[in-house]
Symmetry: none
DNA sequence: TGATGTGTGTAATATAAATGTCATAAAAAG
DNA sequence: CTTTTTATGACATTTATATTACACACATCA
């Protein structure tokens, strides 16, 4: 599954060149030419990385970076700043905004790709392989094991991925379509309702110690994985 | 509110099949069989998405895509290319023309619909909504949760939307019709009085800590959500 | 190769929740 | 005290979700 990279750059030729290079290298590029468009495209499923032009009109480049780093949900998206100046002050300002790396224009495609890969490598393996614990539930992606209070459970592959996704994305509602995108993959075409069935299977599997209540139905919206149990009705 | 999709495809059987699939899935299909027809049909109100055959006679498919992406008004209409070849060069050319996605013929109806939905989902801004707080009431659109002084409460979908609207539009009277427009959506046919009932339900749900008084009846006008409590009559 | 088991997606059915409308009570306005 | 407007509770209908059953695809192993 290709990584999605959002390219925020106002100059069309540069933006298209970058997009081209990205596509050539197996990335999936999304384009935005200004602050507004960028904001609009930073939605679920979030891009894996953002290439952000420093010199967006009105200095909105840094503004965007700051705003993303301040939001709980977008904070973890790595950002690489594109800048024409090699100015030290600018670098400082950029890193201050929480930017992950810098590329100075003009840059070679090779350099760009290398930096992107470096950042992704630095950021993502932890997220993907680290064992997670949540209210007595443990999930170890490497060993492919799940346990509740040290009693190990037996999940099918899909249920495992679903639980993994939930445990790494708690306290937030996901529509069936979003779950399909994130758990099944973007190019898989199954019915929305299939999600219900897998939710059911997962709930069944984690039933016993009340953990099934962590998977909450949000009527009309989707499902949420949460440690805050509903006030008993 | 069905999405309008323009199908540009010269082969009638394929075009009709696509149209059929679209209609089946709740979309509103418009057909065009060549460059000229397509151009003629891309007028206000613009279609929500265009399915464009790559191999239109005379290579006019890419031409059309480029022309649309160069025009300020049509640039934002997402385009999905239909192509018989899985050729890499073609993909690059297509993406270069700003196309949003690709579907390779032959494709399954399911795949087509899924891609359309994915593109629409990606393009239409679900906006990163921030949590709102108002006098101890918290509403988090992302988690889809409401709480009063950290005691979480559960609301039906309509009550949730209604409260969300109120919390983002405080200190102002809204007529029942305005509320219907904003919370239910325009072109929905329900009685004005239905609003009363939902107001009632919402009040009931937030009762307990005096917050129900925030929803104020303005006789003859409608309702207002306000932190300034009425002086006791 | 065939038998067996597992995992998946889909469709059918059951269950539950939410919605809109009405009838009636209560409250304000004049 | 009469009229107008809003509040409230009940109900039928509609809509959404839960659950079950089943068929098919794959892999494994005899």
């Amino acid at each position: 599954m290709n990584r999605q990279i959002l390219v925020v750059e106002d100059e069309a030729p540069i933006r298209e060149m970058i997009t081209f290079v990205l596509e050539q290298n197996g990335f999936n590029a999304i384009e935005a030419e200004d602050y507004e468009q960028a904001k609009a495209k930073i939605v679920e499923p979030y891009p894996d990385l953002i290439l952000l032009d420093w010199m967006l009109p009105g200095g909105t480049g840094v503004k965007l970076a700051k705003s993303l780093k301040q939001n709980e949900y977008t904070r973890s998206i790595p950002i690489i700043m594109l800048t024409a100046r090699a100015d030290e002050d600018d670098k400082v300002k950029g890193f201050d905004a929480g930017v992950d790396d810098y590329v100075t224009k003009p840059f070679s495609p090779k350099e760009l790709i290398a930096r992107i890969k470096a950042v992704i490598r630095r950021v993502s393996p932890t997220a993907l392989e680290e064992a997670i614990e949540f209210h007595g539930m443990k999930l170890d992606p490497i060993a492919h094991r799940v346990s509740i209070n040290d009693r190990s459970l037996d999940l099918g592959p899909t249920e495992f991925r679903l639980l993994h996704f939930f445990m790494t994305h708690t306290e937030r509602v996901y529509s069936r379509e979003q779950l399909l995108d994130n758990v099944w993959g973007t190019n898989v075409y199954v019915e929305d309702r299939t999600v219900d069935v897998h939710i059911r299977r997962l709930r069944k599997a984690i039933t016993g110690e009340g953990h099934e209540d962590f998977i909450q139905t949000v009527r009309g919206s989707g499902y949420r994985f949460s440690g805050k149990l509903k006030t008993s009705a």
